[in-house]
Symmetry: C2
């Protein structure tokens, strides 16, 4: 693209670095900002800068938090014996929205991915081992995406945690509710038969 | 969405104001920024602020420019008798990319849209009339989108300019090159027959 202004080009390049934003979308966003009031755009820019500089992570679970220990970890009614391990804060929000889980979380902040150069030491794993070693959790739920990276991470965590006195579980995989068997992929369908459960156990308690 | 941090929530809200960005995409962008180096994110924020505060528009044609008069308007080899009127800077880039046009531009910075409260006085129209009145352009090409707003704007500009000694043209509409007649919409197909051209005239000179 040929730009008529250096400032414009720089802004479009910055937006293009965001995931899923190509140069045409970036240009659209930048031209939108140019049509906004200057104060609003300054506020937008400052919000981003402030976010990155002041963001804190819960020292217990690694979730994004404004306080040293997050609201979930300090909540008196949460079941401290259950810890759900997730990839990032988005998964915490998704699980919280279900209102089906009343334990604590542990945010890894990524998954093991040799392709992208992410090893176990880049993730929030040591703190998880500490938490398990403290004896407080009795069950660790590994709620990671069913991808190569997710499975690798689950296997790594399983090896790290299996010698502690803690139950290690993963979320159920199968045909989604409302999903049609006819259209399910073979792997999911095959595995949902192989790992079938007693009807009584499939009901919510 | 339930956020674990006010800072996070504010940043997601700001991103959600951008066109085509919903709250899930906004969250994805914000979490991406959190994983970047602090200096880079500060640079991103400052680029946006600097853009909005320092952006200048060419005093002749209204295009985005770092100099008082833009590079196209000052270019010695451009044909000053031809002026192509467009909605915004994106259209200037698109036309420049074709390398088929060697005249000057005039950027309206929008289209007349009663629905969105945009009237002729909100657009860069007075300056266009001045340019035409100066006698320099001999042809005005109205290259606006074939929408209700575009057609309204074309009609308004035509009435404003028709009494000057200047030829007023619009870009050709029809079946696109590579487009199949079978799949063309009825309006385009019908009009492409009604406004058919002599074969010799359809060839590029």
């Amino acid at each position: 693209m040929q730009f008529s202004s250096k400032l414009l080009e720089e802004a479009v390049n910055e937006f293009s670095k965001l995931p899923g934003i190509g140069s045409k979308t970036a240009l659209r966003l930048v031209l939108h900002l140019l049509n906004q009031n200057s104060d609003e755009v300054t506020h937008f820019g400052n919000t981003i800068i402030k976010l990155r500089q002041n963001i804190r992570f819960c020292t217990n679970c690694g979730n994004i938090s404004d306080t040293p220990v997050c609201e979930i970890c300090t909540h008196p009614k949460r079941d401290r014996s259950l810890v759900c391990v997730v990839e990032d804060s988005r998964d915490v929000m998704a699980i919280e929205n279900t209102q089906q889980f009343n334990g604590l979380y542990h945010v890894l902040n990524g998954l093991i991915s040799p392709m992208e150069g992410v090893g176990p030491s880049d993730l929030n794993i040591n703190r998880l081992v500490e938490r398990v070693a403290s004896g407080e959790p009795t069950e660790i739920i590994l709620a990671l995406n069913p991808t190569m990276e997710g499975d690798t991470t689950i296997f790594y965590l399983y090896k790290k945690l299996k010698d502690f006195n803690v139950k290690i579980t993963t979320i159920a995989r199968g045909i989604s509710f409302g999903g049609e068997i006819e259209y399910a992929d073979e792997l999911t369908l095959g595995r949902s038969i192989a790992t079938r459960v007693l009807y009584e156990n499939s009901l919510l308690k």
